[in-house]
Symmetry: C2
Amino acid sequence: MRRATIRDVAALAGVSPSTVSRVLNGKDVGHMRPETKERVLAAIKALDYTPAKAARILRKRKTGVVAILLPDISNPFFSLLARGVASVAFEQGISTLICDSDNSQEKENAFWDILLSEGVDGIIFVPVGEPHVAKLQKLLRRGVSIVVADRRLDGYPVVEADNRGGSFALAEALIARGYREFAYIAGPEGVSTADDRLAGFLQALEEHGLSPSVVRRGDFTYHSGYSLAREILAQHREVEAIVAGNDLMAIGALRAAEDMGIDVPGSVGVAGFDHVFPAELVRPRLTTVAVPAYEMGREAMGLLAAGTEGSGRKVLPVEPILGESTPPRR
Amino acid sequence: MRRATIRDVAALAGVSPSTVSRVLNGKDVGHMRPETKERVLAAIKALDYTPAKAARILRKRKTGVVAILLPDISNPFFSLLARGVASVAFEQGISTLICDSDNSQEKENAFWDILLSEGVDGIIFVPVGEPHVAKLQKLLRRGVSIVVADRRLDGYPVVEADNRGGSFALAEALIARGYREFAYIAGPEGVSTADDRLAGFLQALEEHGLSPSVVRRGDFTYHSGYSLAREILAQHREVEAIVAGNDLMAIGALRAAEDMGIDVPGSVGVAGFDHVFPAELVRPRLTTVAVPAYEMGREAMGLLAAGTEGSGRKVLPVEPILGESTPPRR
DNA sequence: TTGAAAGCGCTAACAG
DNA sequence: CTGTTAGCGCTTTCAA
């Protein structure tokens, strides 16, 4: 069954294609004879007609599709973010294309080309590392707008969390609870989320005349948290709390301690950042900092739709959550 | 900057648009003068040309896009499934559109229309409940192929897990460990995954001359597992193990017991199904049945690409995982 | 208030 | 081996 075209509808309704198009787009409908409009509508229904998107795009040079390019959709933080984006897009009749760069710079680079030919109208971008700027610029020059989410990227509009402030507040709270000797497992260098959290943490320590026993870099995965925590726990018996740059790594640390027969929080405290679903699942419940991922997605899509020019920056507030994994000491 | 067209390239290379098109599509390149091809390639690079997808689609009547319509992308099982689909699609140069029906029949129905006008070439479908068959048929008539994943839908090709067998095996294992009094929290009625798992479980019990203390229906969410487990634990003190239709509900049951001060596995055992990441996180580690979600996604996309006609059915093997949440009794 | 005509950028016969 | 031609289905002036 060949799908009906605008011409079929026009013929059945006894009007011209232009008239059908006008009805479809709600243009000049004000000064259109109601009867004509009725006939068109009837014909559309009779033929079960749906406009061909491709043809429309070709004409209008707008696809009505935005892409969200992120490191890992199976990471609960990002899937929540993606849902936020999709919900706003949906409200505006825009479709969402989720592109999973699989934590690989290479795959991410490949996606730029795909997105270019895909002809998306905009992109919500969560960079894996140092993005391929030339490709970004190419998109921009083609009129595709880009909003960076979760991680900062200089020169681009961004929606991020108050990572530095949240991390600072978390450190203060831990110090208030009597912790003095910290190990910090940061995220990858160069990723603003990781660096800001580390900086905020160190600053708080410094203001209290403290300095960390050890600082290491992971890659935000459960696995990296696990192995770094093992090393830390083996080499630094003085550590009173392990603080990680995100929840997944913190949960990894929790498991490492468990496997080494070290009691949490009895012997060592553990804290994370993000407040993803699994953080509520583990026992002891994880001390962390709540980041509004869904809201972040909504904000980012809002910025994109609003057609932000050049830059623009939105920082979302975060909230420390003191779980059982870091009770007051003594 | 107006983007370059195939004509600009042709002009610069001193050839006709068709020649450029041939180079682009790798057609007849065998019998093309190498020099011509070189010139075209050079022109493409010089103009930084990318073919306009829309025009191509309009001509070929193929969008190169498949959609995956599922109940909830933030459910770890489905996000893994989605990744599987995307990975195969990526290998074939096909883009993936993720549509999240948000566990709502209404939203799901709305997506059919969107997908229709979006003009996707195929759909991987995980139904929320009783799908709007008429809309499905419409897509099918338009030549869009559909593969159902995870849940069966009569008359459509499907990739599912051996839910019945897995559930049967799980029950046998629990019985072997000395459990006799069971409460079962099933998924929603009418969803094959839920019904098959329940059926397999009941069958095993029956073969051992047993019958469950109580059977309830949840909706596969953490929350429903939590509240049903509370009721069960309050009313049926004889229950030795709560078995849930999926891990999220089982984890909810675990938490319910915890909140009621009931020891797991000391006083009651708990088991789930799926083996999602959080199941490894909780303590005691959850007894469950591993379902290869990623593989399921890959298989489904494979079927779609292979252009399955009419039906076809693939059942993936599952594997019981005996965790600490159901140790041998006594 | 409506219609005719001219493409949007590309591909696929069909010629040469 | 390469070019010419004729649309794909829709929107948008411009005229009537």
